[in-house]
Symmetry: C2
Subunit: 349 residues, 2 copies
């Protein structure tokens, strides 16, 4: 039970969990609100707007705030008023990474704050079986959309149109949302890792980077494939092969106990020794869960160590401005042996 | 030129603009990064990942940071290092509402901080002609998707499927993204204002709340229609008529110089006198622009006054748990006379 994990983490005094993804992690409720823990009681504070969908949440007392107190049963005019009444003079544990600055300033003026962001992100990084199951389903949905995209990319569609096909397919296959805005980047545009789809129509010789992820039951997936449309250049083929080799070598090294920075180092080394090091301009991967980017971070300066049932991406890339980009990404589960790769779309040329 | 507006707002010392939407507002560049103004020079600091798409930004010097300094021309290992070198001992104007807590703490320890969030949100609230044009196009795209949705909602589709049709249509019509996750809420689910689409299949007698918005050239739109599927109850029809009356009365009052809180009061009064006051559990509207929720806020406790060329929503609703919900929303431009309503989908029963 995840509420117990919060109680243990807060330990002394009270705790207030801000941030939709954090509150969802501990309660299963997804919407605006703050989860408060004090004296063994969990209170889910929600704005009146969210009351109807908060009421089914188990293990918590739902209390509603609304500035107008439009009904007799609305107890608080704000989160701050509620916290003052519930928390009183107790020290307050919070995760500052999911809080806006003005809230932080107000809380700091009222309470003795303790930041538990590291503990919360460490908890969230190692997935429970039900979380892994949701990520797997999100992966199946994403894989179906990715295969469709790889086929339709050759049909003279624009980036926007192809991203629309992809989004429709993910929803139709059961996604409730997208983990992030779908990226379709073709030709020169593929040299922008976070390209926003345009009206550019895909054509012969293009590199087409498709970076997408479904969201299922609150859990994200993250996958990238790069399609090379026929009559592509030798240079593009060479770059593709380097990225793929880097990705496969890095994936092969993923296992419990290895430093995340080591995975980055392995991918980067392959790319550097091929002479493309200066074009690999981002880190190798990141954790995936309720947020599409979360702990652990697979970068050269990460201090994270991989553990069983962490879910991470491995996604090296090479981006040459004015020419093209290539990125290949899988989402995988860390185990004590070889990782479980969840994306099923082919990536060989 | 919007960079000049920033220079004026910062006035003395230097300024650092965080937040994708703020940086986009002043520069037209959309991606991770920080816009710095010092001694008449604008510097756009971007991570190496974003360099390729930042380079075309006009009026700014693009400088790149990356922890590894993988190339000789990467000058900074972090935003903080760059700010220390560029800003020095000058006081620093920032918008704290677009900054995470850890950044705020680090900046506060290094610089004398001045919060310009109010000034920036006031600037952004009044739209320039090019911004209005983008919002209009986003509205045309949204209207096409909305009409399609109203037609297909009767075809035994699930909430997820219908939201997929909608998303595909918006992309196919030219949206580069969605302003927010498309809401399709049917039957009892429509009593949750921010419902996430499920597998529930729409059926006779349902209320179907469709709340969607396209994003075009960086600008959002926000529109809601509620479809009543044939053989709906008398109670549902009555509620629909009350919400529509509240919406039309409130829209009719929108004009330069009126308090935003007055618009909320007008909508609320119609709903209260029909006996549904306790079911109108959110504010009447909000500004729309680069962010789908931005200044001004159309709520009973807002201090904002409407000005010509602000863009706002008017969206009263009634939500009865276990039964249904109804919301009707338009995005409109404030003028010196009657407002310009941008959504073109019919809303009469």
């Amino acid at each position: 039970m995840r509420l117990d994990k919060l109680a243990k983490t807060v330990d002394k005094g009270c705790g207030a969990i801000f941030g939709i993804s954090n509150v969802f992690y501990f309660t299963g409720y997804s919407g605006a609100g703050v989860l408060v823990y004090c004296d063994g009681v969990f209170t889910l504070l929600v704005p009146a707007l969210e009351e109807n969908r908060a009421l089914d949440t188990k293990g918590v007392e739902v209390k509603v705030y609304y500035p107008a107190k439009i009904r007799g049963d609305i107890q608080y005019s704000s989160v701050m008023e509620a916290l003052e009444k519930i928390v009183g003079n107790n020290p307050l544990s919070v995760d500052v990474s999911y809080m806006d600055v003005n809230t932080y300033i107000r809380l700091s003026n009222k309470f003795q704050i303790r930041d538990i962001s590291q503990q919360v992100s460490s908890l969230r990084a190692v997935k429970d079986p039900d979380e892994l199951e949701n990520i797997k389903v999100a992966g199946e949905i994403t894989s179906i959309a990715m295969k469709m995209a790889m086929e339709r990319a050759t049909e003279k569609v624009s980036e926007k149109q192809l991203s629309g096909f992809i989004d429709y397919t993910m929803k139709n296959e059961g996604a409730e949302d997208y983990a992030f805005p779908s990226i379709v980047a073709s030709g020169e545009n593929s040299a922008e890792p976070h390209h926003i789809p345009t009206n550019r129509v895909i054509r012969e010789g293009d590199s087409v980077v498709v970076d997408i992820g479904a969201k299922f039951n609150g859990y994200c997936f993250d996958s990238t494939r790069t399609l090379l449309v026929k009559s592509y250049s030798e240079e593009l083929r060479k770059v593709y092969e380097v990225v793929l080799e880097a990705q496969l070598e890095a994936i092969d090294a993923v296992t419990e106990g290895i430093k995340a920075s080591e995975i980055d180092r392995i991918a980067r080394k392959v790319i550097e020794r091929s002479g493309f090091g200066k074009y690999f301009i981002h880190s190798t991967g990141h954790g995936v869960g309720i947020d599409v980017h979360e702990s652990p971070y697979v970068s050269f300066n990460s201090n994270d160590v991989l553990k069983e049932n962490m879910v991470i991406t491995v996604e090296p890339g090479i981006y040459i401005k004015g020419k093209f980009g290539v990125r290949i990404e899988d989402t995988l589960i860390v185990t004590k042996g070889k990782p479980v790769v969840l994306e099923t779309t082919y990536k060989l040329l």
